[in-house]
């Protein structure tokens, strides 16, 4: 699995980083996110996902949020935006391993009503394959 860091630790300001591990298999992109998903990191995540959709024909995006420590409406907006982008392409956004405190924020936003959530990556990968 490729490990890509798209925000480096910034010790001088104590800035929080967002890192991800990326795995691309046929038309499926798996991202394991780590850090805070907020105004600072949202745009880079959006670009990272959209590049794979636009240039590599990815149609299923699985986001593992196990190591996401914080999310606000900037982060939620990126998730909703990717769902909206994939929908007309016949694609899917799947979210797995959501920590309880992150899920509470998502629940208030109504996101779980429209985006599919899974306990783990395996279940997310299997769904839709007829498994």
């Amino acid at each position: 699995m490729d490990v890509v860091e798209f925000f480096r630790e910034n010790c001088s300001t104590g800035g929080v980083t967002m890192q991800f591990e990326k795995k691309l298999e046929r038309q499926t992109l798996l991202l394991r996110l780590k850090g805070d998903l907020d105004l600072r990191t949202a745009d880079s995540l959006r670009v990272a996902i959209d590049t794979e959709i636009d240039k590599r024909g990815v149609r299923t995006v699985i986001l593992n949020l196990q190591d996401v420590q914080f999310i606000d409406s900037s982060g939620l907006g990126v998730l909703l935006g990717r769902y909206k982008k994939l929908l007309p392409l016949g694609g899917k956004l799947k979210i797995t391993n959501v920590p309880t405190h992150i899920f509470k924020i998502m629940e208030l936003s109504g996101l779980p009503k429209i985006i599919n959530f899974y306990p783990d990556e395996t279940l997310a990968s299997e769904e839709g394959r007829g498994a």
Binding site: D36, L39, R40, D72, S73, G77, S109
Partner: protein, 145 residues
Amino acid sequence: MKSNQLTLKFTSLAENVSIARMLIASVAAQLDLSLNDIEELKVVVSEAVSNAIIHGYHNEPGHIVHLTLDIDPEALKITVKDNGCGIPDIEQALQPAYSTDPERMGLGFVFMQSFMDDLQVESVVNNGTTVTMVKFLDRTKPSSH
């Protein structure tokens, strides 16, 4: 508990949103608040500061955002102030799902209203916006929850 006040003044950079969250988390940790309350306070500060940067200053760096925390035995008051473009219609901005940006969910004020006991928004077009949020610390006080 002694009354206390802290003010953080910072430029309108996205990097500073996480620093604002660190401040509220540090202050909240000294109060008798649950981990859930602390998480919610981090969200409301993140939303208010992000709004100031994105909407108040249209993501332009170099402007100033003020975050003030007033703590007394009864309440924690959070004030976020910008001198940006202001909100022409506050009532509309407070509506759920209202956003001027299709990539955003328009949930900032929803979170602020849900997680805090009081929310006041004062704004003058071309002169800035002040968002004031209160969380009562004395559990006998009225609560919106």
